[in-house]
Amino acid sequence: MTRERLLTFALLAALLALPFAAQALGYPFYTTLATRMAILALAATGLNIALGLGGLVSFGHAAFFGIGGYAAGIVATHAMNAQPLLGLDIPASMPLVWLLAALSAGLVAAITGAISLRTSGVYFIMITLAFAQMIFYFAISWKAYGGEDGLSIALRNGFPGMNTAVPRDLFMIAFALLLAGLLIFWRVRVSRFGAALHAARQNELRVAAIGIEPFPIRLVAFVVSAMITAVAGAMFAELNRFASPSMLAWPMSGELIVLIILGGTGRLAGPVAGAMLYVMLEYWLGSITERWQFFLGLTLLGVVLFARGGIVGLVAGKARHG
């Protein structure tokens, strides 16, 4: 077994054990932290397909994260008030939310990606940022769903066989989604599609000479990436019982990129390691000083300067991709 695989299993085992250990030691709040770690890791895993494998530095993934959040909020609100949504009576169901979140974000990603992917480099970063900000401003002006105040979720959407009001149950759902997200990432990475996506990142003309058109491959990667991040956004809103406009704002996009860089760009376990470190820093440093992000910045600086493969690169060796 490679060191990277060992590290992946170790990180996932530690994350899975955290809520149980927290319960046993009498710190139930840590279950919520573990859930936050799993959700952010899932969101970053989505972005990792576009950024880590495709080299697409999307500064607009907050839009997809927020679309997921609002899908959860809208379904919960309509279901609770027994109001039909688009003429249909809908149940307060998490799988339905994930489906809506993934489809909506996928559609938005297909449209914005079809335009954005005609650019590259800093222009791609700027155009994805611009689209995300457009969606942010649309959300805060949408009074029917809370406008600037966001959308509260009085009662979480349900999941068959689980009580989503119980923190450990919610964690287990988030953890299972994270495993599914990692499985998708891994399947993409070892597939012909993944190889072509990574090859297109290295040299467009060279991939054209072997019969590959880079644009549709990148678009599919961008859409899949957005769909995974949207499902994470839905879970984030469920966790906080609140779909906040800040989920759609550009700092969220930056946060997801930071998670990946901290953990290791293009590495399977990168987003998991990054999210775990990020949430730990946020919690422990945040309890010491309000300026905890200064120390996060120092950590990021250290990683960029001395461990460019992130935590995974530091432990498991040189990057497999990138």
């Binding site: 012909r192 190889a195 990574h198 090859a199 003309l205 054209a208 019969g211 590959i212 058109e213």
Partner: protein
């Protein structure tokens, strides 16, 4: 004819490099594209593969006119290119380099590994860590993975050690025996001529001579290929 190129002209910006190249490759035929440095061999190949933006003339491949088509479409029609200087994807493993190019057909990672056993032993190694000869084997393997009707090799053995060159020529002979159509550029005449069915000589961007290898007399070689 599988490939027919007529009056091919191409330029790099304002600088014209091809002034009317003509050549043809039949099914199962090996054609050697020859000429001194700077006579337009690589430009001809790049133009056939759609990698030159400024090109005109006629390129018919398998009965289809491809002069206006994009490079990826030309490759999908069945032209596999082994570019000059190998040009593998350095940050992909050997397996990933081959996998990225895979299209349905008889060539798979396993059959490429049979043709080049050294590649088979290095499937999980990064392309950037291979020797020059192994990278050339990988470039040929990658082109074969597209299951091409026509394989184009630009400078097939340039800069390689004699033992590696021998392996590459042996592989080319095996491909020829299997009926693979090949257009090949190389400077080692002693290896190139025995494998070629026909020769096309370029001189200052146009076709100066076409014929069988045994018709390429010492006088012609001196006139068109001598330094």
């Amino acid at each position: 004819m599988l490939l027919e190129v007529r009056n091919l002209q191409a330029s790099y910006g304002a600088s014209q490099a091809l002034f009317g190249a003509d050549l043809a490759v039949g099914e199962g035929e090996v054609v050697a594209l020859m000429g001194r440095n700077g006579m337009g061999k690589t430009t001809t190949i790049r133009a056939i593969c759609g990698l030159m933006a400024n090109r005109s003339g006629a390129i018919s491949f398998a009965g289809r006119e491809v002069i206006r088509e994009k490079p990826f479409r030309i490759a999908r029609h069945g032209i596999g290119l082994v570019p000059e200087g190998r040009r593998c994807f350095p940050n992909l493993t050997v397996r990933e380099n081959l996998l990225a190019a895979a299209r349905p057909g008889k060539w798979t990672i396993a059959t490429v590994a049979q043709l080049f056993p050294r590649l088979g032993e290095r499937l999980s190694q990064y392309a950037r860590t291979l020797s020059g000869g192994e990278q050339q084997m990988l470039a040929i393997g990658r082109a074969l993975m597209t299951n091409p009707r026509l394989l184009i090799l630009d400078e097939a053995t340039e800069g390689l050690a004699p033992t590696v060159r021998r392996d590459i020529w042996s592989a080319i002979r095996r491909l020829k025996a299997d009926g693979q159509s090949i257009l090949v550029v190389d400077k080692t005449m002693v290896e190139l001529l025995p494998v070629a069915d026909r020769c096309v000589v370029l001189e200052k961007g146009h076709t100066a001579w076409t014929g069988r290898p045994d018709e390429l007399t010492a006088e012609l070689q001196d006139r068109y290929l001598g330094v």
